[in-house]
Amino acid sequence: MATNIEVEHNNEDTLDVMQLISDIKHSQLINSYNTATRTVDFLKSLISEQEWTTAQELMDLVKKRMKIISTSLPYEVVSLNILRHSLKLIREEYRSILKKKKGEDLSPPQFVTPDYREVLDYSETLPDLKARLLDQLTEYKVEMETSCENIANQASEHIHTNETVLTVGRSHTVERFLISAAKKTTFEVIVAESSNILEGHTMANNLAEADIGTTLIPDTNVFALMPRVNKVIIGTDTVMANGGLRAQAGLYVVALAAQHYSVPFMALAHMYKFTPVYVGPHDKTTFDLLGSPADVLPYSSGPMLNKVKVFNPVFDYIPPELVTLIITQQGGNAPSYVYRILTELYVQEDYDA
């Protein structure tokens, strides 16, 4: 006798976000760029498919999903940042449509951050809103798609002839950046292999194929080679609100070595990597993500595993004082300027949403 149960999802409305979460959690989305584009697609379908009439309702829908993401994925920032940015887009669109309706001039040039409090609620039904938001998001996605190229185009401003650049592990953005610079100048790159996953090997290979003089070194040699390096350029997972970085484990040591020899330490970051969250190095929940010990010690090691504990942390925190420059698609900025970028990206009241 066979019986079979079919259970309907009763919380059908948040199913979309659960799907997004599980994709991120199970590494279906390999890098942050994938996560970012996936989130924009998710937003588009949210706006076009979910039932909402006013801007306020839509913002509530988005906020609800942000809450779910942040509870189930404490380490995820990219999709949260994009959703947070979308809240700002919704407010802006609402305001501009409303103003147009009232016959005011279409946004006079603004030199200060607009005061969003002037519109007290977003309860008016605006039929144009949906279409305009979708347009905005399409535009945003295009901007995202070109951001890597935009960052790479700035390469010649930062890398000069016969310089030696050090990078650690593999970052897609850094790779594009260096290859773009190589079109105009000749320079050398030292790649630290980034131990236990050894992604540096692929990186070195790709750079060498692009005819860049490349040296691959073990991570332990970074300090010894630092005096010869003119610049350190790395990718980062997140830019925190104070200008500090949450980056691949092992980079803190590199940053300290760079500081010791006064070598500029530059990070490449897309706009969606900026988060309004403040953290210190002692914040356990944001930094203690640990991977499988198998990368450090294979499972076949035998009885020693009964006695040895293995830690394989994923992230390092690099305090802002060690970071010289953060390069985004809009240009380079000092870490102290991050707060300003954040106000451009998000509305203050959404910071802790």
Binding site: N4, M18, Q19, L290, G291, P298, S300, G302, P303, N306
Partner: protein, 621 residues
């Protein structure tokens, strides 16, 4: 019953079969109330890890095969889907129920009858916790099938060293593979009393390159071709996956089916909860993140600590807890001592309680000053009175069917006596690993029973003869109890004889021995004994036909008498007399036998009066 559109096979969908029951009662008494698949592992049901793993590994449709406590599993699945558990989003789950199944093999036969699976599928034994990416293994299996049409199954193993806790001594294994990873030889060494293994020469003759592997840990995962299910149906004696592998390897030429091995690499991890020892090992490995990204959802990061503490449980400052997993909402009293133990949710431990190497089920109450040590397992809802000391016991809350007075420990505490003999109790209750010991000493972590096996040097009786003997006893007992025709019993014995390829001499010997052994199982009494013997007289007549059979018969009597004190003391003369009077044994044969006896042995002293009487009777004539 099934919807039609569900039977329709959908292209290349990846299917998996999970058998949720283990059929061996390894987790009693806890599994008396909760199905094994819902056993909490770091405060989350075991099944959740299995399903999460399947989803993560790329499975799109899962058939969950349940045989007992089905309602609880159904309820659990329903709740998880309502809560949008990650695996419920992209993976379809069908619960198949068949309460008549009594083994892993039965489940697969049932599945075959239902005809739900068409293509290759993933087959999981109960209790799997893993993070293996299944798709590459499936792909590899398909490639292998293209080259070798006979390939039916790819079994998944992980390399592991001897002595690490993750590798269960029960799963100790030796495998020989050729350069294509085809399995040539597969033997579980745990079951061998003798630690030596014999390798058939053919495996070296037939392939250029043979690798012998012992550093393996069974992930209890296999990729199967669709022909696996019919093979199970054709061979109804296949009860487990090991039977299946053994059967295929033994009859490789006849069946034409081959087995392949896959070794997982890198940060992939495969483990399974199959007994308490594994339960402990998998718990710690999960906590240490070997199964990343399948990690326990701990609010605070507990990695630096030895213990895992559930939500709503407050640990008092004076508690001494090491290497324990404590469930949700457990109330702990003052001055508590816990070591290497598992305390499930909603338990209440009062002041001065000590628990060591034990498992405490859900909602138990343990009163002041009690000590629970060494391999004790408490079922759900047990109440232990003040100052009780429990050592190496199984306790459950409901009264078992057969319960002696001394086994009643309280209103909700009954000692459970497994009905099997001693050895099996030890096997069923393997000690939890004493982590303290393994840290402090350099012992390689072999359990005690292993050492005993190693010191076992006496050469064991040939297996087939032993099996034949037990089968004869079974036939006779049944025949006697059900009052069957002795002719039928003879038929049965003869068929067993051919099944095990036993020589005539051994048949005679074993049949007599079995009849005498039956007496040992029954109540005593001369009348009863002669009744038993007369009942079987047609059988005796059938087997004791000539002089040499008589010798076998006497040999059997001697054998039984030597091993059994009571028989020797009281019955040996009676037996000999009976056989003589009924003309089964000739005078000549008895005296011949008597002359060859070792005169100094105690046994011959017993028999002497009879032999003497026999001689005198002869002279008188």
């Amino acid at each position: 019953m099934y919807n039609k559109n569900e039977i329709i096979h959908k292209g290349n969908i990846v299917q998996a079969v999970v058998v949720a029951d283990e059929f061996e009662d390894k987790f009693i008494p806890i599994t008396n109330e909760v199905p094994m698949s819902l056993l909490p592992l770091l405060n989350k049901p075991l099944l959740d890890y299995t399903l999460e793993f399947l989803y993560l590994g790329g499975v799109e449709e899962t058939f969950l095969f349940c045989c007992s406590q089905v309602d609880m599993i159904k309820e659990y699945i329903r709740k998880s889907i309502e809560a949008s558990a990650a695996w419920s989003l992209n993976m379809k789950i069908h619960i198949l129920v068949s309460e008549s199944c009594r083994s892993f093999g039965d489940c697969l036969r049932d599945l075959d009858a239902k005809g739900l699976l068409r293509g290759d599928f993933i087959l999981l034994e109960p209790g799997v916790v893993s993070n293996i990416n299944l798709r590459p293994i499936l792909k590899k299996h398909k490639e292998v099938v293209k080259k070798d049409k006979g390939a039916v199954i790819t079994i998944v193993y992980q390399k592991a060293g001897v002595g690490q806790i993750g590798r269960s001594a029960e799963d100790d294994i030796v495998v020989a593979v050729d350069h294509n990873n085809r399995v040539l030889y597969h033997k579980k060494t745990r079951l061998l009393e003798d630690k030596r293994i014999k390798l058939p020469v053919e495996i070296f003759l037939l392939s250029d390159e043979v690798s012998m592997l012992h550093n393996l840990k069974d992930a209890h995962i296999a990729v199967c071709s669709s022909s696996v299910l019919p093979i199970f149906s054709d061979n109804f004696d296949f009860q487990t996956r090991d039977d299946f592998i053994k059967g295929l390897l033994m009859n490789e030429e006849i069946m034409g089916s081959t087995i392949y091995l896959h070794l997982i690499r890198g940060s992939q991890y495969g483990g399974a909860v199959t007994n308490w020892q594994n339960y402990q090992a998998v718990s710690w490995e999960l906590k240490d993140r070997w199964a990343y990204p399948l990690v326990p959802s701990l609010k605070e990061n507990n990695l630096l600590k030895d213990n895992v503490i559930g939500n709503g449980t407050i640990v008092p400052h004076d508690a001494n807890i090491s290497r324990c997993v404590i469930g949700n909402n457990v109330v702990l009293g003052k001055n508590i001592n816990l070591e290497d133990s598992f305390i499930m949710s909603n338990c209440k431990l009062e002041d001065n309680v000590t628990i060591n190497l034990s498992v405490i089920g859900n909602s138990c109450t343990i009163r002041k000053g009690s000590k629970i040590i060494e391999n004790t397992v408490l079922g759900n809802g047990v109440n232990i009175d003040q100052n009780t000391i429990l050592k190496n016991q199984l306790i459950q809350a409901t009264k078992p069917d057969f319960c002696e007075k001394e086994d009643i420990l309280g209103q909700y505490a009954f000692r459970l006596k497994p009905d099997e003999d001693e050895d099996e109790i030890l096997q069923k209750l393997p000690r939890l690993h004493n982590m303290k010991e393994s840290i402090e000493t350099s012992d390689d972590g072999f359990s005690d029973s292993d050492d005993e096996n190693l010191s076992y040097t006496q050469s064991p009786v040939l297996d087939d003869t032993k099996l034949f003997f037990t089968e004869v006893i079974d036939s006779l007992t049944r025949g006697f109890e059900d009052d069957l025709q002795c002719d039928n019993l003879i038929l049965e014995i003869n068929s067993s004889r051919y099944a095990y390829n036993i020589s005539v001499k051994e048949v005679n010997f074993n049949v007599i021995k079995a009849i005498l052994h039956m007496y040992l199982r029954q109540p005593t009494g001369q009348r009863y004994f002669s009744q038993l013997l007369s009942y079987f007289s047609p059988i005796l007549k059938n087997y004791i036909r000539n002089e040499s059979a008589m010798q076998d018969c006497l040999q059997a009597i001697e054998d039984v008498a030597i091993t059994n004190e009571e028989l020797k003391e009281n019955w040996i003369v009676f037996i000999l007399n009976w056989f003589y009077n009924e003309n089964y044994l000739s005078e000549e044969s008895i005296s011949n036998w008597g002359r060859n006896l070792d005169q100094s042995a105690k046994f011959s002293v017993q028999v002497k009066p009879f032999l003497k009487w026999l001689e005198e009777a002869d002279e008188e004539e």
